[in-house]
Amino acid sequence: MFRRGRLDQDLDEELRSHLEMRAADNLAAGMSARDARYDAQKRFGNTTLLKEDTRSVDIIGWLDECARDSRFALRMLQRSPGFAAVAVLTSLSALGRIPRFSPSLTPFSSAPCPIRSQTVSSASGSLPSSMTVLATL
């Protein structure tokens, strides 16, 4: 979303700069200020349509870039399987701990040791499914 806002801003500024340059040249050629601006706008045609066309080109490029980035990330993970395993286990244990932690918040909490062993065993159990999620990106 942040990136998209910047693309929009860039495009607005680019088109505005074009219109201003055309209007300035028109003015220098002897047109009134009003005619100069009107002519610049007229040559541009339908600004909304033009912006949409240009923006869709930008967004397609941006999506391509995202896909490239995630393919790259995946390749890097494949190259260092040890790091990948640690990263996946860490995120799974972080995610998996949340429901398991809530009972331990009660005054009659149990020792933390069983929680850790539970987490690890459930994490390795769900490993294949989360790997497929990564791979389909």
Binding site: D10, E13, S17, H18, M21, N46, L50, D58, G61
Partner: protein, 110 residues
């Protein structure tokens, strides 16, 4: 069918823009002016169709774009030809020559 005074076919536009950028980086407005001037007012780039085309060429890696300051001290987005764009230009110039030759051959036959 062809309205050379008003708009250009999309492919031809890319060819003309790439050729214009051989002289150095230029903003969109400068590109329209150059094409109009060199063609002695015969070719007029429809300004609306220029920007989607420029941004597409940027995505394809034929040009890169960067903000700069124009000769009149205005901020403008300057497009610069890349090596890939130069190769594309060479291909499109070859195609264009083949096309015009073929049309000329048909016209001169009979």
């Amino acid at each position: 069918m062809l309205k050379p005074k008003n708009d250009l076919l999309q492919g031809t536009l890319a060819l003309l823009v790439l050729k214009t950028l051989v002289r150095g980086p230029l903003h969109g407005y400068g590109i329209t002016l150059h094409i109009q001037l060199v063609s002695k007012d015969f070719l007029r780039v429809e300004e609306g169709s220029l920007y989607p085309a420029l941004h597409r060429m940027e995505q394809d890696g034929w040009v890169t774009a960067a903000w700069g300051v124009s000769e009149n001290n205005r901020r403008a987005r300057y497009y610069q030809l890349t090596a890939k764009g130069g190769k594309q230009l060479a291909d499109e110039e070859k195609n264009w020559e083949r096309l015009t030759q073929a049309v000329a051959q048909v016209l001169h036959f009979a």
